[in-house]
């Protein structure tokens, strides 16, 4: 183990999409930085808001860009019907127009898919239910010019040439809108600790992030984090050696390497976590299912504490890395599930079947999940800072124009 002593630390580790089985996120997006801050006593804020992107390729979760709808692509169900008109996003014509139909927001489009699935109007595939994204009307020239990657990805990964056929798509976990609680200068409540990017929650995304706001997270708040951390480092002394905390970290690793027996492995626990998140903490949530998820996660966290490594060697040990990542994901997942359970309203990406309305009187608030060791996190709330833009009803489709 190597000990780094730093006057200031910036966490910039990205999101936690891998908690879910079907995600656009890479394999490294396991919420490690979030878990580190959380375990160190920094709350995770607004974790119940997980963004689904409406168009991912079945199986792999590869993202088919919003640009394909921006250029004029349409979404149809198994009957070839532009189903979004049934969910307050129509009428379909005139097309295209802003804030309507396929140019509606990500949360509403993903929710519409769920309803179509309930009605049996989606298309069955070996990789789950899908709807069709149709960009054929754009023509080969425009597709090659504006959406070359969409054509390449669809051809390679689902064997569909979008010039001639419709692309199978389904909602896919895309962005962790919650994260490490920071102020507008990216500072966490823990002195010397800063966070920026998807791992942080500086609260520019609310309950439904707008496409490309990740750029603001990087460019604006990345720069602010750099400056804030540098300022802090300049005016504070270098810390001493970690001492007991360092020894404890080493002891934890030794204990992990020393475990014997047991039927659980990284892949079996990870699959169980993925399954419960997908079925019970996804696009629509309910009291019963969320309670079930919280119980399942508590059980998985207990089993994780006894899970042995299958690779005990010291060179590029990816079993160890995956085990540590799994521990992070389980902690972050329980923060997510508890935050979701306690938010008894529907807002943006957080939809509760028994509380279908937005409840500004009680829940115009940020949730804060605080780590409690082996026990589930406690959830508290914090007022939303509202300046220029006042909360209003979200209106799309005909009513918006």
């Amino acid at each position: 183990m190597v000990e780094f002593r730093a006057r200031a630390v910036v966490i910039a580790t990205g999101g936690a999409g891998r908690i879910f089985p079907f995600t656009t996120n890479g394999a490294i997006k396991t919420g490690d930085g979030m878990a580190m801050a959380y375990r160190a006593g920094v709350p995770l804020k607004d974790m119940e808001f997980m963004q689904y992107h409406p168009t991912g390729l079945p199986g792999t979760g590869i993202l088919i860009t919003e640009g394909s709808r921006g250029e004029g692509g349409i979404l149809v169900n198994k009957d070839g019907y532009r189903y979004l008109q049934d969910y307050n996003l129509g009428p379909p014509d005139p097309w295209p127009r802003k804030k309507a139909m396929e140019l509606g927001p990500r949360d509403r489009l993903s929710q519409a898919f769920w309803h179509e699935q309930q009605k049996g109007r989606t298309i069955k595939t070996p990789h789950g239910d899908v709807v069709h994204l149709d960009i054929r009307q754009l023509g080969e020239k425009l597709i090659n010019e504006r959406l070359p990657m969409v054509r390449e990805l669809a051809l390679a990964y689902v064997g569909v040439d979008p010039v001639h056929a419709m692309i199978p798509v389904r909602p896919v976990v895309h962005y962790t809108m919650g994260g490490i609680h920071t102020d507008i200068d990216t500072a966490t409540p823990l002195p010397a600790l800063f966070a920026a990017g998807e791992c942080a929650c500086v609260s520019i995304n609310g309950a439904n992030r707008l496409g490309s706001n990740s750029l603001a997270e990087i460019v604006v708040f990345g720069a602010r984090a750099g400056r804030a951390a540098a300022n802090f480092a300049k005016t504070n002394p270098k810390p001493g050696l970690a001492g007991k905390a360092g020894e404890a970290a080493q002891a934890r690793l030794r204990e992990l390497f020393g475990r014997e027996g047991g039927g659980d492995s990284v892949s079996s626990l990870r699959k169980a976590m993925n399954d419960t998140m997908e079925s019970d903490a996804g696009i629509y949530r309910s009291e019963d299912r969320l309670r079930q998820t919280c119980d399942t996660l508590a059980d998985l966290r207990a089993r994780y504490r006894r899970m042995p490594l299958q690779d005990r060697s010291n060179v590029f040990n990816t079993d160890l890395v995956q085990a540590l990542e799994l521990g992070c994901m389980l902690d972050v997942a329980s923060a997510l599930a508890q935050s979701a359970l306690q938010r008894k309203e529907s807002r943006g990406s957080h939809q509760r079947l028994e509380y279908t309305a937005r409840d500004d009187a009680n829940y115009l608030k940020h949730s804060l999940a605080s780590y409690q060791g082996d026990a589930p996190p406690t959830i508290s709330y914090r007022d939303v800072v509202i300046t220029k833009s006042q909360p209003a009803e979200r209106v799309y489709g005909g009513a918006a124009t």
Binding site: G26, Q310, V315
Partner: protein, 247 residues
């Protein structure tokens, strides 16, 4: 019984093995699976000790380069359907030391990459308050292709010259140097020339073109190197005829 496919994977663990050996795994065959899916199946179900790098699974992050049936490939972009009925032999990328199994030591590349100064070196430094360094879409098009490199190192594994001289700066780093040299906002050509036009730089390339053939992002490093040779020669000639004038 449903269809299967056999992978023959190079294994090497420096703590226990004196040399690499191959291990066979039988995995389910699926039309839409890539070699990486098969490796993940092995890791999750058959052998958790198998070691390899990967992340994005969509040919963007550049971390899963391997030698697959003799060719440098991204394992996330190599479909089992193209190997149906055959044994798939998976080895680490050529021309790099093996750290473990399919994981290579890439320190030499990281050093080379930094040595070509792959960042904008403005002609004239201006303060933030003076605004952006602007560029037209046309000026961007000049080098756009060379920005697509994902540092997957397939070109280093394919390049015969790297095999002969491990100090050769190599295709990806030279293509990236060219990308910045071509940038209308950049004035760092001379600063880069020290490495780019050195003995281990562009002149070491014998224009076999294997780098461009294996590039999964169509970057064409071979073209970048040949273009750099021309501009370096022109610069040298100008220097000879009008010493000091063009700087």
């Amino acid at each position: 019984m449903s269809e299967t496919i056999t992978l023959e994977v190079l294994r090497y663990h420096p703590e226990t093995d004196s040399e690499p050996h191959f291990q066979r795994y039988v995995v389910p065959y699926r039309d839409d699976w890539v070699v990486l899916d098969a490796l993940n199946h092995i890791k999750d179900n058959l052998d958790a000790t198998l070691s390899y790098r990967w992340s994005c699974h969509m040919a963007v992050c550049g971390s899963c380069g391997m030698t697959i049936n003799g060719e440098p490939k991204l394992s996330c972009h190599s479909f089992l359907r193209d190997y149906r009925g055959k044994v798939v032999r998976v080895e680490p990328l050529d021309h790099f030391p093996i750290e473990r199994d399919l994981v290579i030591v890439m320190d030499s590349f990281m050093e080379k990459l930094g040595s070509v100064k792959p960042w904008l070196i403005p002609k004239v430094e201006k303060p933030l308050s003076a605004g952006e360094y602007l560029q037209s879409p046309g000026q961007m098009q000049v080098f756009h292709q060379y920005t697509q490199c994902i540092n997957c190192l397939l070109c280093y594994a394919a390049c015969p010259q790297i095999g002969l001289n491990e100090d050769f700066v190599g295709p990806a780093a030279l293509a990236l140097a060219h990308r910045y040299n071509l940038d209308s906002r950049d004035g760092g050509r001379d600063a880069r020339a020290e490495v780019v036009a050195s003995n281990e730089g562009i002149w070491e390339c014998t224009f076999v073109g294997a780098c461009s053939e294996v590039c999964p992002k169509h970057v064409d490093p071979a073209a970048a190197i040949q273009q750099t040779k021309i501009s370096a020669s022109v610069g040298w000639l100008k220097d000879l005829l009008t010493p000091g004038a063009h700087r």
